[in-house]
């Protein structure tokens, strides 16, 4: 990045937009907690009726997994794809094209901007849920916590690179709602957001392991719990990085062919 200050200013601007509509964002976040609470009750019932049903997971570990998944899921929502769709549809993307900045970096900056707000709200909500349900497991080793932070940061970058690639469809289709929903459906199942991947039957687990999505939830959550051994952790975090940067590059290629498809109305 040749001019980091430009992008920092963009990130700040997009955070400020969130603050203007903070009531709306907060209500949205609180709304998403119902899903987590329903999950907690469901898993609690399963655990109480058959403690062995969680496999190698203890109940506090399972709760921690759900909370970590919730917090990671709260960063970068459908809003980024929707925004991209709107910009292309309404022709605002023409302004972006005229600016002397890198398009992908601009998008990354404005997607990253709201993260401090998203994270602090999600952690607060997550902590309240965790306390209501009797606490969660914490990393037993400070090294796990450090690795978790690295893995979580990579997870956010990976999520951006996937959203960026998907949002390129905005140049060919007008409605992003369907594309966004499809992306979230696939991501929810294969990232481990709905259920830890180890609970899957072999064929589904094999499929998940060759897709990039597991790096979004499963890898950081398992790193937090410290249930993977050293080499596995290193390999999983490494593959997160490879996917994240690989897809960033792929997104740049997509963008190159996408701008050729641009038609600006009223020009």
């Amino acid at each position: 990045m040749p001019h980091p200050r430009k992008y920092l200013a963009m990130a700040k601007a997009s955070l400020e937009v969130i603050f203007v509509y903070r009531a709306g964002w907060t209500v949205n976040l609180i709304g998403s907690v119902f899903y987590v609470v329903a999950m907690f009750y469901l898993w609690q019932t399963i655990f109480l009726s058959k403690p062995g049903a969680l496999g190698t997971f203890t109940w506090p570990q399972m709760k921690a997994y759900l909370i970590v998944a919730f917090i990671l899921n709260s960063t970068m929502t459908w809003f980024d794809e929707w925004q991209m769709g709107q910009d292309v549809r309404e022709g605002r993307v023409a302004i972006d094209l005229a600016r002397p900045v890198d398009f992908q970096m601009t998008r990354l900056a404005s997607a990253m901007g709201p993260i401090p707000f998203e994270l602090s709200s999600a952690i607060t909500i997550g902590a309240i849920v965790a306390i209501i349900f009797g606490g969660i497991a914490f990393p037993s080793d400070p090294a796990h916590l450090a690795l978790f932070i690295v893995s979580a940061a990579l997870a956010v970058l990976l999520k951006f690179s996937i959203i960026y690639c998907v949002s390129m469809t905005a140049f060919w289709t007008t409605g992003m709602e369907g594309v966004s929903n499809a992306r979230m459906a696939v991501q929810n199942i294969f990232s481990g957001a709905l259920i830890p991947l180890v609970f899957f039957p072999d064929w589904l687990r094999a499929l998940a392991s060759v897709l990039p999505f597991q790096g979004m939830i499963s890898t950081p959550a398992l790193t937090y719990l410290g249930t993977m051994d050293g080499p596995t952790t290193a390999f999983m975090i490494g593959s997160q990085a490879v996917w994240a940067f690989g897809l960033l590059l792929f997104g740049r290629l997509l963008w190159r062919s996408a701008v050729k498809a641009v038609t600006i109305n009223g020009g």
């Binding site: 609180i30 899903y35 019932t45 369907g178 459906a185 696939v186």
Partner: protein, 270 residues
């Protein structure tokens, strides 16, 4: 009485004419239409996979079997689909009010509520109805239900009532924009999220959550109680019979709240 009936028939006619125009508008974007349908199907398939994976580990959840839980989920999806396909307009109210375009509805000689309901078409609803319907059919064929003509008729009544409850909730919460002005459907979306609790048997929740989904926002009558009735689940099945009454009550309340809000409406630019 005859005049009232004629008026009601005329409103239904107007509703379908408006909806028809919206359909044409959507079908102009063919790719969007296909993508929306497929995405709705994908969401349900992942939901099904989730429940299936859980039931690989345990035989039942609090005595509720796999197919019963699938049926609860399918009812949530089907009713959501009906809401999007035929009554998506409720989700556009906040934007209309925010832009000042809602005035348009008020100057036309048709009930604003009918115009709101016919205000948009969400084709993802068709995907939801088709896949949800398939899941419902599969779960019914796999579960032991003692079918009688009465029970079959009741199935139809229950599905219609469940859809009515969902639409009424959407309409009633959409009216919140007359008090809380936001460009997005803030309150409707918030309440919509409560539907998550409807996907599983309510016996797994604490009393407070149960009270919320039974009494405050009756999502339990969309999925749980109808399933309890069809499968004759002892104590719960009798309450399932109340579903049509709850639907009528919800619809009545939603229309009342919306009209009450309309009286407060001052248009924008004051």
């Amino acid at each position: 009485m005859a005049a009232r009936l004629r008026h009601a028939r005329w409103l239904v006619y107007i509703y379908f004419r408006c909806l028809g125009q919206q359909m044409k508008a959507i079908l102009a974007y063919e790719a969007d239409f296909v993508i929306l349908m497929i995405s709705a199907g994908l969401v349900q398939i992942t939901g099904f996979l989730f429940i299936w994976t859980i039931f690989q580990r345990i035989p039942d959840i609090n005595g509720w079997t796999f197919w019963q839980v699938v049926m609860m989920m399918s009812l949530i999806f089907i009713t959501e689909g009906v809401g999007s396909l035929f009554f998506e307009g409720t989700w556009r109210v906040s934007r209309l009010v925010y832009n000042g375009n809602f005035d348009m509805y008020l100057v036309r000689p048709v009930s604003p509520i009918v115009q709101v309901l016919a205000g948009a078409v969400g084709f993802n609803g068709l995907g939801n109805i088709v896949t949800g319907g398939a899941l419902l059919a599969i779960s019914l064929s796999n579960a032991q239900v003692q079918w009688t003509p009465g029970r079959a008729l009741m199935l139809v009544i229950l599905v219609v009532s469940a859809a009515t409850i969902r639409v009424a909730i959407n309409l009633g919460t959409a009216a919140s924009v007359f008090w809380i002005r936001t460009p997005w459907s803030l309150v409707p979306f918030f309440v919509h999220q409560l539907g998550e609790f409807g996907k599983y048997p309510i016996t797994i929740y604490s009393l407070a959550v149960q009270a919320m989904v039974v009494v405050v926002i009756p999502f339990a009558f969309v999925s749980f109680f109808p399933v309890a009735y069809l499968f004759n689940m002892e104590a719960w099945s009798t309450i399932g019979l109340l579903t049509p009454l709850v639907a009528v009550y919800c619809l009545f309340m939603a229309v009342w709240i919306f009209r009450f809000g309309l009286r407060r409406y001052e248009s924008t630019g004051h």
